[in-house]
Symmetry: C2
Subunit: 143 residues, 2 copies
DNA sequence: CCTCTAACCTTGTATTATAATAGGTTTATT
DNA sequence: AATAAACCTATTATAATACAAGGTTAGAGG
């Protein structure tokens, strides 16, 4: 399950993508609009700033803004960053200790296929897609 | 992330599917073969027995066995049962309290699509598929 | 009938993650 | 100088995960 961390991060990114690029949007405003705890959001945004997905500006007229165009962000990178990993099982995490049952595991091939599918799904969607979708665009080609 | 509960359950089910249908396989044997804590497995198998995916038999020559043919089990039902839900986000769980932001949520449509994809993936694989896969069968049509 | 085996049942517990809250410090702007 | 807002450090309540311990019940075989 994707936790609130990743989901909130995504919603904030879409929120920022919707209010243009010029000017900073203060956390207070985002938190109120999205109905998310201000203090909790602060923690989440700190990560996004650290990883350069957002730029933070202090003082009056300060706030946060995107560092790239919406279509240059994939949902995958945002989730992976905030959730720590997108891996569906522990043994497929990047930091996993090698599993001795790799060769004989009856389920590993399935998990690998699943992981690939998930990765392709999330890395195939950009922030711009989500903004459009909300504006009534029929983003996708269900498959 | 799928926890050990679901992953172990799956591995046990495949294990049982491999040792034919006649006779019961004791937990001790499964736990040793799979390298899983016996006591923890007990808890997991209890659920599977309660939901009639397995039959348990006490006493000498007792153990566990499948109640159906391997191809009559989907991976989806096994995971959903042991994990509690397959939903990728809290607001899509069956027991979720209705979210007031449903209409305006910029990410919900994406989560719905993702959920559908995950559901189709896991409900499209049977125990029999996993057994074959392990025996060198090239189960699938990568897409 | 007695013993053994193995499922079943109840309880406890260490560790970790989640989802925050509280309060102080620094840096821009007016 | 005052104010706004990001930034930083620490704490915490709740829940889930992944077990472990020990006792109870029900079949099978001698």
């Amino acid at each position: 399950m994707i936790s609130t961390k990743g989901r909130y991060a995504l919603r904030v990114m879409v929120d920022l993508a919707q209010r243009d690029m010029d000017g900073y949007v203060p956390l207070d405003e985002i938190a109120n609009r999205q109905g998310i705890s201000k203090k909790y959001l602060e923690i989440i945004l700190k990560t996004l700033v650290a990883k350069k997905l957002l730029k933070g500006m202090r003082g009056k007229n300060g706030g946060y803004r995107l560092t790239r165009a919406p279509k240059e962000y994939t949902v995958g990178e945002i989730l992976e960053l905030t959730e720590g990993t997108l891996a569906s099982v522990a043994c497929l995490r990047a930091d996993a200790e090698p599993c001795g049952r790799r060769q004989e595991c009856s389920t590993l091939p399935m998990w690998v296929r699943f992981d690939r599918m998930v990765h392709n799904f999330f890395y195939g969607i950009t922030l711009a897609d989500l903004v459009e979708e909300e504006n009534g665009g029929s983003m996708g080609q269900e498959k």
